[in-house]
Amino acid sequence: MRWRNAWIVMHKDLDEFKKQKLVMGSIIAMPIVLGVVLPLVMFLPMVTIIPLERPWDVNGLLEIGSLPDTAHIPWTNHTIENTTFHATVISNTILKNVHLSNCVILSCILKNTTVVDSTVQNSSLTNSYLKNVTVVRCKGTGLDGAFILTVSSDLNFIRTKPSDIDQVLPMMFNMILMIFIIVPATLPTIIASYSIVGEKNNRSLEPLLATPTTDGELLTGKIFSAFIPSMASTLLAFSLGVILLDVVLIPKVAYPLLPNLTWVLSMLLLAPTACLMSVLACVLVSSKVSDVRAAQQVGGFVVMPVVVLMLGVLSGFIFLSPLMIFVFAAVYGCIDLGLFYFARAVFNRETILTKWA
């Protein structure tokens, strides 16, 4: 495989693609509408209408990977003075012999944590969320003996029953994540379906096949010319969506929610493999039919494996943990590899040039 030849094919296709303003516009617009505008439309009314009684529980979306750096401060046998903690997550740990003095704790989360033999003086805890926090032999100023932090009225202790919002939130986030996986699988179908049969119908395929390009190089170029714009626009929409969602949701959840490990892994592993699967299947179909419409019609079926995943996640049958993402990405990757070798094996220059029905 001479990658240079594949790059030439891809570069030419992208050059042609850039001239098709409408197609390019729709490729950029679709992920933004579905992955940015739609979530904002869903969340903005919730954020503005529903009063804040306590921070929303986004348990399940919170990952260790999203801990800010400040969480790595040694929390045992430590004295902290005149410090502000903002959007800090402290999780699954024991704070022992910690002494806070003149500190501000703002929009933080403290969960599954035990605080032992510690003191707090002249400090405040504001707009933060505590869950499963056990306090043992602690002292402080201005509070009763049960808990000795100086706190604002926003403080919540262990909560036993999730609210309606708490139940809806994970489903909504899963749906948005699924949009970012199904969109790159849908976007390239038209471009990829056109890739071979379009050139055949334009009669530009014959001179191209007469060049020293191999079947593999030609297919690789065609695959990447459909893959790159689809994934690029999806990643752009993903970045925009994550930033805007954080901006909108931070008053309610008390810390930057996205991207967490599940979302990052999904975008780095699931979305590209799903996109590639769709592209490969469409290019394969494109090399076997004589009409662009037939290629597009058949190409519509290629998003089925991704739809199955989406239905599984949304119905609750599949929990999209990092391990599950690896499993699905591996399955998709294997299908991608198989499709590439199959497409190359059945790519027949003679049939493509001479068969018209």
Binding site: K12, E16, E206, P207, L208, P212, T354
Partner: protein, 308 residues
């Protein structure tokens, strides 16, 4: 050198070309003439390694067109102009040519110079960035020819190179082809344009799903037709038809005004004998000319015979 040995291609029950056997020496222009569906394009596609022969074999510079590795090398040596230009309509002429130049590994600077020279020659340099979709058929054809030549191929396969060109552009292309020949390139041309083939081809093969005849266009005419001589006399006596018809090296004698029209087999030897005979009869010869049979006459006669 291109060697075709019994090259045959069938599509299902249809035989496109059968037993195509020719040798094309380097530096020659070889024309394939034949009606639509005669197998010309199929033959060119086989030699371009685009389709595989059903039986038979062919070698280009001793490389076998049926061998996958050889086919890659052959593709580097050939430049193909297909029946339809097949340009990328949304791209400019420059990008269309540059794209193909890159495949053949032509260095960037050389590519730029070559494209500039070619487009300037074709009068398209100022419009190099315009999408070629808006160009006329002739302009597209010129760009497609330039595309086939971008890497200076040793073997050039042209399928109907002047099909959609105006007379002036056709002349430019013909001169260009002859120029390529003078540089030592070997050119295979499929054409319906018989006068063009007659003017530029060293050898032509008349095909109708098989080779009907191969040869130099002039030799073909000579082989097929008796040479017709027109002799203008001051006056023609009525008895001459009968007397001249009796001469063994003359045939098909007839009279048109004061012109005597007859066929001879070998004009170089027979014309002086006819003149002597006429003078011996006391007749005064004013002019003598030979009627040329065009390649079109040859084509029509052979294709008609092949169809029977």
């Amino acid at each position: 050198m291109i060697i075709c040995d019994g090259l045959t291609k069938t599509f299902g029950n249809v035989t496109a070309i059968q037993d195509f056997t020719v040798e094309i020496p380097d530096g020659r222009i070889f024309g394939l003439l034949g009606p639509n569906g005669a197998g010309k394009t199929t033959t060119m596609r086989m030699l371009s390694c685009l389709i595989q022969p059903t039986t038979g074999r062919a070698f280009i510079d001793s490389l076998d067109i049926r061998n996958k590795d050889d086919a890659q090398k052959i593709r580097c040596m050939i430049g193909l102009l297909p029946e339809v230009p097949g340009l990328y309509e949304t791209l400019g002429a420059y990008k269309n040519l540059d794209y193909y130049g890159q495949f053949y590994g032509v260095p960037k600077q050389q590519r730029e110079e070559s494209i500039k020279n070619t487009l300037t020659t074709l009068g398209l340099w100022d419009r190099r960035k315009e999408p070629v979709g808006g160009f006329s058929k002739g302009m597209k054809q010129k760009i497609a020819i330039a595309r086939a030549l971008i890497h200076n191929p040793k073997y050039i396969f042209l399928d109907e190179p002047t099909a959609s060109l105006d007379p002036a552009a056709s002349k430019t292309v013909r001169e260009y082809i002859l120029d390529l020949k003078s540089k030592g390139d070997t050119i295979l041309i499929n054409t319906h344009n018989l006068s063009e083939a007659e003017r530029i081809c060293d050898t032509v093969a008349l095909v109708k799903n098989r080779i009907v005849k191969v040869g130099n266009p002039k030799e073909l005419a000579h082989d097929l037709f008796a040479r017709t001589i027109t002799i203008t006399l001051q006056e023609i006596p009525s008895s001459i038809l009968k007397d001249l018809s009796a001469v063994d090296y003359v045939s098909d004698v007839h009279v048109n005004g004061n012109q005597l029209i007859l066929n001879v087999r070998h004009p170089e030897e027979d014309n002086p004998r006819v003149i002597s005979w006429l003078m011996h009869q006391g007749l005064q010869v004013q002019f003598i000319s030979e009627e040329e049979h065009s390649l079109e006459d040859v084509y029509l006669k052979l294709i008609e015979e092949a169809g029977r």
